[in-house]
């Protein structure tokens, strides 16, 4: 193994080492951190952000960004809740919500690829539009007491073999997307488009399709995350998901994916989401004021990115 390989391994392992260090430090400071109940709670919290961040990874690998994730989550969640309230089978409602998310994401993709609007601007606009649509749809009120359907409630809060179902959902999605990214030509093309649109275009890659896929996928994942939240609370909030885009982007960046596209991997994103979740959970357990929590989170992100630069 030569030196470049060693450094590339360290680079890949960096976030994981950070996560383990974080686990050790927090568990030393407070031994209730490692209790099963807390860990289950941790994974429940992480799963929402991680699922969104998986989609964001695809988007950022194409050198894009999606600011509208929180709004897509809220809108699809609200529509799903309304459908359930009006008597639709909850499982069917989840599927409809997923299709809606897919559609909302595809709109982003079309604006960015065929419309040639900068991703930041396009999704900034749809972030506002989708949020507005949610408020109009819900009249600004939460949609509550949806159902007593057990299967539906379990989707957000149940366990299977002692593991929270949202975490299982997260891992299934993780493996599917890992496969897509590493083992399919679509995944390879995603990296290629982010590496150089010019080279990819000349090589005959249909770059618009690759981009639309990335954004549509993100929309779908937001809908799934929205379904988990709605199921857990048994209610849909019109303000759900506000600010989630920042946590998702932070998870991707912490995981070592380059914001300029073409470089990174979804394993890193999972670790990044776990780091953010662990920080949130750990700082709460340690009774750190939520004001300080924000400062710590910001510092961790800065430190991680700086460390990444040094090695490069």
């Amino acid at each position: 193994m030569d030196r470049t390989q060693v450094t590339s391994y360290i680079k890949k392992l960096g976030p994981l080492i950070g996560l383990i260090a974080l686990f050790i430090i927090i568990s030393l400071l407070n031994n209730s951190f490692l209790e099963i109940a807390n860990l289950k709670n941790l994974f429940r919290q992480v799963s929402i952000n991680a699922i969104i961040a998986f989609g964001m990874t695809f988007v950022i690998l194409t050198a894009g960004i999606d600011l509208s994730v929180g709004s897509m989550l809220a809108l699809s969640g609200a529509v799903m809740a309304e459908l359930i309230v009006t008597g639709m089978n909850p499982m069917l409602a989840i599927i409809v919500a997923c299709l809606l998310g897919l559609f909302l994401g595809a709109i982003n993709g079309f604006l960015i690829s065929y419309g040639r609007i900068a991703p930041f601007i396009a999704t900034l606009a749809t972030m506002t539009i989708y949020r507005g649509a949610t408020l109009v749809f819900t009249n600004g009120n939460p949609i509550s007491s949806l159902t007593t359907d057990h299967a539906f409630r379990a989707f957000g809060r149940g366990d299977l073999l002692g593991i929270p179902i949202p975490a299982i959902t997260m891992f299934i999605i993780f493996f599917v997307l890992w496969f897509v990214l590493q083992k399919t030509s679509l995944g390879r093309h995603t990296y290629a488009v982010g590496g150089s649109e010019k080279v990819s275009f000349i090589a005959g890659i249909k770059i618009n399709r690759v981009k639309i896929f990335a954004y549509a996928l993100t929309g779908l994942l937001c809908a799934i995350a929205g379904a988990i939240i709605t199921s857990r609370l048994n209610s849909a909030q019109p303000t759900a998901g506000a600010g989630y885009e920042l946590d998702a982007i932070a998870a991707v960046v912490l995981g070592g994916t380059s914001l300029s596209g073409g470089k990174g991997h979804i394993v890193g994103t999972l670790i990044g989401a776990l780091i953010i979740g662990t920080l949130n959970n750990g700082l709460n357990i340690l009774d750190v004021s939520s004001f300080y929590q924000q400062i710590v989170k910001g510092l961790v992100i800065l430190f991680a990115v700086l460390a990444d630069r040094k090695k490069a």
Partner: protein, 493 residues
């Protein structure tokens, strides 16, 4: 100021660009610097103005040894370079561009716009030109942008002005203005270096001439001592030895017919044909529009008119993926930004356009991809320890082989190669020439755009010469001489 450069040598890596160059620039005279693309003209001038440092040789100004470490330093000394690609900020006004690096400040340290405007206007008046100083530079014509560069160097009291192909993008009127200003500069005892391919301008505007070839000074004399024919001979004068493999393929029937194709930009309709197994060389000066024609042919740029007939069928190409489907491949001239994904491995680059074809499915089959990439990289003699290494670790010649491998993997029937051997060493060049011949033996037709005349003459079955966006002529190999091609390329008879 009299500049004397003696015994200048310069290498970039293993590439010896300048071997022994001598030139003397006299005040109040316009000195033409001529030579083929790649002869070393720009490098020489970049050494004079401090962008590069000479490996060997001396530069003196009025007898005093000089050596600059940056173009800025050279400018302070009065030696200025107006590049072909103008250094402008397109988003700023002409006035702001003019004073960008040397702004005038008021007593308070703020920018003194009024006095800058006053001075600029006065300078314009002196030169007898009219410039829209407040317009964004990007919206102005190349001629106007160039005038800003000239104004700028006049403000630093330039004693030596180097102009690289200054008229390449100017209209006739702008050219006339430029020449008038050059004469004014001459009258002020400024020494001017005029790099150009345009024979007519050189003979009407210049006093002295230096001709370079392969990093050597071939001749340096007053312009009155030389004829246009002698200039061309000096520029191209090397023998084409057996460096180029013998052509054994006899071209078959016509596979591609391009009729009145109109690429984007200033072009006259382009027509030509390509036969099975033929190499069609495309010659012309830089900026003549060769690349643009090829981009239109590949569906990269919009085609504004004309028809492309492939194997008897008229086709319209809107994108590279359609061209690829039709069996056309395009090896672009800029391998770094258009040909390769530098972070990808050699294998990943080679298989990029062919993933689904190799695997017959959207799911990648690693071993098939590996075998495919390995076979091609061996076929092209890519020198590397492993094809899993990033392509950025390879030398230029080997990178170019990877680009070619990538396209050959598609088994195209027509390959467009734009400067296929630019910036690569002799060994790799020879490998590529052999490969081109093998391909044509197998019935692949090749369009080879090249700025290296010997390469075009040595490899092509026919040569199409482009001059200012039009086909100046298509010459059979047996009738082609360096002189006849160069003459067509420069718009001569």
């Amino acid at each position: 100021m009299e500049i004397v450069m003696t015994g200048i040598a310069k290498s970039f890596g293993t590439n010896e660009v300048l071997k022994d160059v001598n030139i003397c620039l006299k005040p109040g005279r316009v000195h033409a610097l001529m030579g083929e693309n790649g002869a070393g003209k720009s490098t020489l001038m970049n050494i004079l103005t401090g962008l590069h440092q000479a490996d060997k040789g001396h530069i003196t100004a009025d007898g005093k040894e000089i050596r600059f470490h940056s173009p800025h330093e050279a400018e302070d000394y009065g030696i200025t370079f107006i590049h072909q690609e103008l250094n402008i900020w397109p988003n700023l006004s002409l006035l702001e561009n003019l004073y960008m690096m040397r702004p005038k400040r008021s007593r308070w340290g703020t920018l003194d716009k009024a006095s800058m405007r006053r001075e600029a206007k006065q300078r314009c008046q002196e030169l007898g030109i009219d410039l829209p100083l407040d317009n964004e530079a990007g919206d102005c014509s190349v001629g106007q942008q160039q005038m800003i560069e000239i104004l700028r160097i006049l403000m630093v009291n330039a004693k030596v002005v180097i102009m690289d192909e200054p008229t390449a993008a100017l209209t006739e009127r702008e050219t006339a203005t430029l020449f008038r200003i050059m004469r004014q500069l001459k009258a002020k005892n400024v020494a001017i270096v005029y790099i150009s391919h345009r024979m007519e301008e050189v003979f009407s505007e210049c006093d002295d001439i230096t001709i370079m070839r392969d990093g050597h000074t071939i001749r340096s004399c007053p312009i009155s001592d030389i004829s246009a024919n002698e200039v061309v001979k000096d520029m191209v004068g090397r023998a084409i030895d057996d460096f180029y493999p013998e052509r054994t393929t006899t071209p078959g029937q016509t596979v591609l017919a391009v009729n009145n194709l109109e690429p984007q930009g200033h072009f006259k309709p382009i027509s030509f044909t390509l036969r099975k197994g033929e190499i069609l060389g495309v010659a012309g000066l830089m900026g003549a529009g060769r690349t643009e024609i090829m981009r239109a042919l590949f569906g990269l740029d919009k085609q504004e008119g004309g028809t492309i007939t492939l194997n008897g069928k008229t086709i319209t190409l809107h994108s590279p993926s359609e061209a690829i489907k039709a069996g056309i491949a395009f090896i672009t001239e800029d391998r770094k930004s258009e040909g390769l994904l530098l972070d990808f491995s050699i294998a990943q680059n080679i298989t990029l356009p062919t993933l689904e074809r190799i695997c017959d499915s959207p799911i990648m089959k690693q071993s098939r991809l590996w075998d495919f990439a390995k076979k091609l990289s061996d076929k092209l003699h890519v020198k590397t320890q492993s094809i899993s290494l990033p392509v950025s670790a390879l030398s230029g010649g080997n990178q170019q082989k990877v680009v070619i491998a990538k396209w050959i993997g598609l088994s195209p029937s027509i390959i467009i190669m734009d400067e296929p051997t630019r910036g690569i060493d002799i060994g790799a060049k020879r490998d590529i020439y052999d490969l081109i011949n093998t391909l044509t033996d197998q019935g692949v037709s090749i369009i080879m755009v090249s700025s290296e005349l010997p390469e075009v003459l040595g490899m092509s079955d026919r040569i199409m010469v482009i001059h200012e966006g039009a086909v100046a002529g298509i010459v059979d190999r047996k009738d082609a001489t360096p002189e006849s091609i160069m003459s067509l390329a420069t718009g001569g008879e």
